[in-house]
Amino acid sequence: MRELLPVVIDGAIYASWLFVVAIGLTLIYGVMKILNMAHGSLYALGAYAAASLGGAWFAGGHSPYASYAILVLAALIVGLIAGPLLERGLLRFMYGKDEIVLLLVTYAVFLILEDVIKLIWGVDPYFIAQPYGMLGNLDFAGLTYPVYSFVLIAVAIFIGIGIAWVLQRTRPGKLLLVVIHDREVSLAMGINVSLFYLTTFTAGAMLAAIGGALTAPTVSVVPGMGVEVIVLAFAVVVIGGLGSLPGAALGALIVGLVRSAAVHYLPQVELFSIYLVMALVLILRPKGLFAGFEARKI
């Protein structure tokens, strides 16, 4: 039992990271029915932008405490550029095609973005560790944790509540639910559906980039960093149910706890435990634990 608390804390930290990384994927799928394989690349773009912009910020000798805002700003810029570019420039020509064709289209985008990143930033690693180290450590339950990890948990909760609030309490959010429910009828009622698609995709891209930007201080930013994130994010949203917000939260928690339990008790199974859970959930509940609203389709 002594070991249980660290497992839970590690799990919560990892889960919050997963949630931030995966939430954009489920948002885009929920609204547009696109399983975006380029999600990991957007994550990597966010990390690179954060490393560059943050690096310039520190080199300029500005206040280090504002660097957190810079990280988020970098992610927002990435989302604002990449989101509309991809949605308006490519994806809108693909609506109405099979989900699987859209999957292949975003796979092509993933291939392209992987190299775009190398063209812009080269292949050398980038580091932006200051925001991570600056906050120091916190002793908790006999163990030491970086404060930054707890910031990550707070950010995940904030994002989750924020999105839920927008969807349920604001007019555009409610309209978006209408669009999800029935695209044609909402078109007929005068809702600007293509604007909602554009906004959703951009928001999803921003969330992916924020995930990357907040991860950048904890890792070295290298080419290919998005490749693994894609499958992890897939695992999270598939477990929870594609397109479901509480599903993504639950999926992140499950994957986070499973991985941290595996790391603590049975390190050999760490890597595949996540995919094992994903496969099990797909086998037992193919549409995920929080299945979407399928009934409306007929």
Binding site: L104, V109, L111, V238, L271, F272, L276
Partner: protein, 312 residues
């Protein structure tokens, strides 16, 4: 059946040309052997594509085939290429029979996702298994054929010839299969599953059989790749390997059993040339090509060759 069916003639011609090119141009052999091996995996994927299924997890069987062949050589001292290829094919088929009971219930992105998850499980297992070399994998003992070593100048040609023959046999078998009633169900299932059931055929069973064939081909391809490259590692089960197969299959199209091999050879040539000249932009070119194909040639590059008006 169809007097204008020239598949057999085309395949024989392709086999002769491939053997001649290989004999005249030794440096071409290695690249082409790997391309033909991967072409086998793509061939299997093509069968699934014709059924309307996309598997993002063929790497699982590709890797299984390679590890079975490599493991037999490493731990049991078996080096006969034919035995090793058969073993790779068989292990993949057996695993596919088991997993097929599960996967045959899934369609669309769920099929893609579950197959991806399964291949990532194997990847995770292999990465953590020290006995099999963890992330480094291990070297495959040089294969022999009926006592002959398949290394050295002549040996490499024979390995290449073996790959050509295996690819030829695979393509021909699948072509014959497509012309059987069960094979013809593929397009029917893709178009309208419900009506296939009304006709009295079991969609589930048909998909299961097709899945096993596809996976056996992937296992065969993996074993052949392992023997050719002489080294295997868990990367073969990573989702990017499966993604590469999907890429080649989409690019080549499903018009003919020769398409996957053509696509695979083209892909390997482009990759090796592009990798030398611009290692940082070749994926960009690949991605762009894929988008163009999806948009303008939904039936793949092969549709350029296919006669106009002929409905697949």
């Amino acid at each position: 059946m169809n007097p204008r069916d020239r598949t057999l003639v085309t395949l024989v011609a392709a086999l002769v040309v491939l053997l001649a090119v290989g004999a005249l141009l030794p440096p071409w052999q290695f690249l082409a052997t790997v391309a033909l091996a991967k072409g086998c995996a793509v061939l299997g994927l093509m069968l699934l594509l014709r059924t309307g299924l996309v598997s993002f997890g063929q790497g699982l069987y590709f890797c299984l085939g390679a590890y079975s062949a490599g493991g037999l050589g490493q731990f049991l001292g078996v080096t006969d290429a034919l035995v090793l290829l058969a073993a790779g094919c068989l292990v993949a088929a057996v695993v596919a029979v088991v997993l097929g009971f599960l996967l045959a219930n899934y369609r669309n992105i769920f099929f893609a996702m579950l197959s991806l998850a399964l291949s990532m499980i194997l990847y995770g297992l292999l990465v953590k298994s020290q006995a099999l070399g963890s992330t480094d994998g291990f070297n495959v003992a040089p294969p022999t054929l009926a006592g002959w070593a398949l290394s050295g100048h002549d040996g490499r040609f024979f390995l290449y010839a073996l790959a050509c023959v295996v690819a030829f046999a695979g393509a021909l078998t699948l072509d014959r299969y497509f012309k059987t009633p069960l094979g013809r169900l593929a397009a029917a299932i893709r178009d309208n599953e419900l009506r296939v059931e009304y006709m009295g055929a079991s969609v589930r069973q048909a998909i299961h059989v097709k899945y096993v064939i596809a996976c056996a081909l992937a296992g065969l391809g993996g074993a052949l790749t392992g023997l050719t490259v002489g080294h295997i590692d868990p990367e073969m089960a990573y989702w990017t390997t499966s993604g590469e197969f999907v890429f080649v299959a989409i690019l080549a199209g499903t018009g003919s059993v020769a398409a996957p091999f053509l696509g695979s050879v083209l892909f390997e040539i482009v990759r090796s040339v592009a990798y030398q000249h611009s290692p940082n932009t070749w994926q960009l070119a690949l991605g762009t090509a894929m988008l163009l194909v999806i948009m303008f040639l939904p039936r793949g590059l092969w549709s350029i060759f296919a006669t106009r008006g002929k409905v697949a």
